[in-house]
C-alpha cells in the first residue's frame, strides 16, 4: 500500500484531526503572539527528540535516561559548525548531526543494548554524564560551563541575517522546523508500522519469544538505539539556533529526565502521545514557572500523579474516555 493510500485508509476523523492540527500549527504565527510561536518552535524540536526516544521506550521497551546526550550532540554540532567553522547551512548541520550521532549511537548502543531495564537506563545515564563532564572539562574546545554561541543558520541556502531575530525564528525557521517535524513524524510512523516496528514491539513484549521466532533481539535494539539517537540529534540541532547558545546543562541528566517526563505525560503507548506530552509540558512549564518559584514541586507532583493514576498519560486518558463513550452508545 502506498503512503497516501495508507493515510486515506485511516478513519476520516483521524485524518481530519491531523489536517486541522497541521494547518493550525502552520498558521499559528499569523494569529498567535511571537512568544507563543517561539514556544511552539521549541516544541517542534522537542517533538523530534521524543519521537526518537519513544521508539526506544514505547516500542522497544528500553528506557534511556541519557538521551539528552544525543540531543546535545546535535546542539553542539550546530554551535561548532556555525561558530568555529562558519558553516551556516542548516541542511549541512542536520546531516553532520545525524552522522556524528549515528556513529556515537552505534558505538554506545553496542554496549548498552546488551542490558535491559535498570541496567540499560543506568548505562545511558552514565554515558550522558560522561559527555556532560567532557563538555565541562575540555573547556578550551567546548567553552566549558560558559557554552558556545550558535549563529543564525541559512535555510535552504538563503541567508536571512537581515530579518529581525524573532521574525526569523517565528516565521522562516518556524516553518522550516515544522516541515522537518512533519517529515520525521511520517518517517517514524512508517518505521513503527513496518515489519521492523512490529519486531520491536515483539521484543518489548516478550524478547525470549521474539528471539525464538528468529528476531535478532540485540541487533534490532541496536538499530532502534541508532535511529533514536539520530532523531534526538536532529531535535538538538533544531533547538540550538532557537536558543542561540548551547551549554553543558543540555546534556545533564535532568534534561534527559525532561524528555522522559514529556513521553510519560503524553503517553508512551500511543504514537502521538509523546508529542502531546511535549506540547503540554512546554506550555505548562511556561505558565507554572511564572506563577510560582515552586514549579519543580508541582511538576514532581504531576509526575507522581501520572505514574499512580494515569500511567497511560494524556493519550491514555483520552483513549479510555473515547472507549467509554463508544461503549455507552
Amino acid at each position: 500500500m502506498k503512503p497516501w493510500q495508507e493515510i486515506l485508509s485511516l478513519k476520516s476523523t483521524k485524518v481530519l484531526i491531523l489536517i486541522v492540527v497541521g494547518l493550525l500549527f502552520l498558521g499559528l504565527p499569523l494569529f498567535a503572539s511571537q512568544y507563543v510561536s517561539y514556544l511552539m518552535l521549541t516544541f517542534f524540536a522537542y517533538a523530534v527528540m521524543v519521537l526518537g526516544l519513544n521508539l526506544l521506550f514505547g516500542y522497544t521497551g528500553l528506557l534511556s535516561f541519557g538521551h539528552a546526550f544525543f540531543m546535545a550532540i546535535g546542539a553542539y554540532t550546530a554551535a561548532f559548525l556555525t561558530g568555529k567553522f562558519s558553516i551556516l547551512y542548516m541542511e549541512v548541520i542536520l546531516v553532520v548531526a545525524v552522522i556524528i550521532s549515528s556513529i556515537l549511537a552505534a558505538l554506545i548502543g553496542a554496549i548498552c543494548v546488551r542490558y535491559i531495564k535498570i541496567y540499560f537506563a543506568m548505562l545511558t545515564l552514565a554515558f550522558g554524564m560522561l559527555f556532560y563532564t567532557f563538555l565541562l572539562k575540555f573547556y578550551y574546545l567546548t567553552g566549558g560551563d560558559e557554552g558556545m554561541r550558535v549563529l543564525r543558520p541559512y535555510l535552504l541556502g538563503f541567508n536571512l541575517s537581515e530579518i529581525p531575530k524573532m521574525q526569523y525564528l517565528t516565521r522562516s525557521y518556524y516553518i522550516y522546523t515544522l516541515v522537518i517535524l512533519a517529515i520525521l513524524t511520517f518517517v517514524m510512523w512508517k518505521i513503527v508500522s513496518s515489519p521492523f516496528g512490529l519486531c520491536l514491539k515483539a521484543i518489548r513484549d516478550n524478547p525470549e519469544k521474539a528471539e525464538y521466532l528468529g528476531v535478532s533481539v540485540k541487533r534490532y535494539r541496536w538499530y532502534a538505539f541508532i535511529i533514536s539517537g539520530a532523531y534526538a540529534a536532529i531535535g538538538g540541532a533544531l533547538l540550538a539556533p532557537a536558543i542561540g547558545q548551547v551549554d553543558p546543562g543540555l546534556t545533564y541528566w535532568t534534561h534527559s529526565g525532561t524528555l522522559v517526563f514529556m513521553t510519560l505525560l503524553g503517553g508512551f503507548e500511543n504514537f502521538f502521545g509523546p508529542l502531546i506530552g511535549g506540547v503540554v509540558y512546554i506550555f505548562l512549564q511556561d505558565k507554572v514557572m511564572s506563577l510560582t518559584t515552586y514549579w519543580r514541586f508541582i511538576f514532581g507532583a504531576i509526575l507522581a500523579f501520572l505514574v499512580i493514576v494515569a500511567p497511560g498519560g494524556i493519550a491514555g486518558v483520552i483513549s479510555s474516555l473515547v472507549k467509554k463513550e463508544k461503549g455507552g452508545e
Binding site: 573547556y139 560558559e146 557554552g147 554561541r149 531575530k165 547558545q245 551549554d247 546543562g249 511556561d286 511564572s290
Partner: protein, 431 residues
C-alpha cells in the same frame, strides 16, 4: 594601595549627596502622585530574573528581596516621574530557560527593562538576545565575558556586571600588602570558568608584586561540592604559606568548618576573595581572625556616614533578620541607575524616553547606591568599589567582620576598557 585624592573626594562627596538624595526623596513622596506631563499613565513594568535555588539561591534571594524593597520605596515616594513600578519575576535557571524567560518578559509581558541574572553562562546567552530584541538588560552579576575576555565590547541594550576576576585581583593586591613574606600559595577554586579565571588572575597579580611566589597546589572541587576533607588533606600536605579561594556561596562556611576541625588556618594564611557573599554564615566559632575576606561590592558595615547604606541595612535586617550581602547592591544599583537615566532623559527630552534613549543615558552614568557611587562605563560595564579586609572577632555579632576595611576602586581592580588584555594590563602596573 592608597586611594587617590580624587577618589577620596568622590567618596566623601558621594556620602553627602547620598544623604541629600534620601532627603530629596522624602520631599518628593507627597508631591509626585500623578505621572509627569507626557509620561504614560500605566505603571513601569520591570522584569526581574533572580536565581532562587541551588548555589545562586542565597545571593539571588537577597537581590530579589532588595528589588522588592526598592520598588516599595519608590512607589511610596510617587514612582518614577509619577509612574508606579510593577515587578514581573521570572526565575533564573538554565541558559535555555533564561532565554525563554527573557523572551517572555520582553514579548508577552512587554516590560520596560529587565534586571537580574548572576551566571555568566546565562549572561552570554541573554546578552546578544538583549541587543537583538532591543530590550534593556541590566545584569546583577552576569557578564558577557568568555574567560577574562569581553565578547560584547559594544552594546546598546546590554549592561553588564563588573568583570568576574575583579575580586581575585583585589585579593591579590591585599595579599601582597598584608602578607609580603609569603613564598608559596595554593588555590582551591570551583571547577568552572569563574574559579579558573580567579586563580589565574590572582597568581598573575601576586607574582607581579612578588615574582618569587610559587603555586604549590591547585584544587578544583566541582561547584556545589560539600565535602572538602580530601582537599583539606591535600592542602595540609602541600603546606603553602597562603591558601586562596574564590568560593562565594554555601561552600565557604563548609570549607571553613572542615578546615577549622584540623586547624588548617592556624599555620596557614588565607585569602577568601568572595567569601563575604555569605558573610553572616561565617561564625566566629570556626572562622579565624587574620584572614583576608572579600565582600565584593558591598560591605554592610562599611561606614556610618552613608545614609543610603545605614537605612537599607536597617530595613533589610528588620524585615529578614539577616545582614545584607553584596548582591543586594547590584540589585539596588541597577534599579537606581535605570530610574536616574529615565529622569535624566525626561529632563532633556520632555517626553517619556525610548529604551534606546534610556540606554544612551545609562552609558557613563554615576549614581549614589548602597556602597557609594557606582556607575557604568561608556562600554556599558559596571564599575564599583570592592570591599575587603582582615577578619576580626571584635564586633557584637556571632560572625566575623573585617578590620581594617580596604576600599578597592575600579581603577585598581578592573581593566580600563573591554578590549584591554587583562594580563598585559597587569604586567603594565608599577610594582
Amino acid at each position: 594601595m592608597e586611594k587617590t585624592r580624587r577618589e577620596f573626594v568622590k567618596l566623601v562627596g558621594g556620602a553627602a549627596l547620598g544623604a541629600g538624595v534620601i532627603l530629596a526623596g522624602k520631599g518628593r513622596a507627597s508631591a509626585q502622585t500623578i505621572p509627569a506631563k507626557g509620561a504614560p499613565s500605566e505603571p513601569i513594568r520591570i522584569g526581574v530574573m533572580p536565581g532562587l535555588t541551588g548555589v545562586i539561591g542565597v545571593p539571588g534571594t537577597a537581590a530579589w528581596r532588595t528589588t522588592q524593597i526598592w520598588a516599595d520605596e519608590v512607589n511610596a515616594s510617587g514612582g518614577i516621574l509619577g509612574r508606579k513600578v510593577e515587578l514581573h519575576m521570572e526565575e533564573e535557571t538554565t541558559a535555555k530557560e533564561c532565554v525563554e524567560r527573557f523572551k517572555k518578559l520582553t514579548l508577552e509581558k512587554k516590560v520596560d527593562v529587565i534586571v537580574g541574572l548572576m551566571s555568566t553562562g546565562n549572561g552570554l546567552a541573554v546578552g546578544p538576545l538583549a541587543e537583538e530584541l532591543g530590550q534593556l538588560w541590566l545584569a546583577w552579576d552576569g557578564t558577557t565575558q568568555k574567560g577574562v575576555e569581553e565578547t560584547m565590547p559594544k552594546t546598546k541594550f546590554a549592561f553588564k556586571s563588573i568583570d568576574n576576576e575583579a575580586e581575585a585581583i583585589g585579593g591579590a593586591i591585599l595579599t601582597a600588602k598584608y602578607f609580603p613574606k609569603i613564598k608559596t600559595i595554593a588555590g582551591i577554586n570551583n571547577d568552572y570558568s569563574y574559579g579558573r579565571d580567579c586563580w589565574e588572575s590572582f597568581q598573575a597579580v601576586l607574582k607581579h608584586f612578588h615574582p618569587n611566589v610559587k603555586a604549590v597546589e591547585a584544587l578544583w572541587p566541582k561547584l556545589g561540592e560539600t565535602d572538602f576533607t580530601s582537599h583539606i588533606a591535600a592542602l595540609k600536605k602541600a603546606k603553602p604559606d597562603l591558601i586562596m579561594t574564590s568560593f562565594w556561596s554555601g561552600d565557604v562556611p563548609i570549607l571553613m568548618k572542615q578546615a577549622a576541625a584540623v586547624g588548617l588556618f592556624k599555620t596557614t594564611k588565607g585569602c577568601f576573595t568572595t567569601g563575604g557573599g555569605v558573610h553572616y554564615t561565617l561564625k566566629k566559632e570556626f572562622t579565624p581572625e587574620g584572614l583576608i575576606l572579600g565582600y565584593n561590592s558591598m560591605y554592610f558595615k562599611w561606614t556610618d556616614t552613608w545614609p543610603l547604606l545605614t537605612k537599607f541595612v536597617k530595613t533589610y535586617f528588620d524585615k529578614y533578620k539577616e545582614y545584607p550581602v553584596y548582591e543586594c547592591d547590584h540589585a539596588y544599583f541597577v534599579l537606581q541607575a535605570y530610574k536616574t537615566a529615565v529622569e535624566k532623559c525626561y529632563s532633556i527630552l520632555g517626553k517619556w524616553p525610548t529604551k534606546e534613549e534610556v540606554g544612551k543615558a545609562l552609558s557613563g552614568i554615576q549614581v549614589p547606591s548602597l556602597s557609594g557611587y557606582r556607575g557604568y562605563r561608556e562600554d556599558n560595564i559596571m564599575t564599583c568599589n570592592f570591599f575587603m579586609g582582615i577578619t576580626t572577632h571584635k564586633n557584637p555579632y556571632d560572625f566575623v567582620t573585617i578590620d581594617p576595611v580596604e576600599v578597592l576602586t575600579p581603577s585598581q581592580i578592573i581593566k580600563p576598557t573591554a578590549e584591554t588584555k587583562l594580563y598585559e594590563w597587569i604586567k603594565g602596573w608599577k610594582s
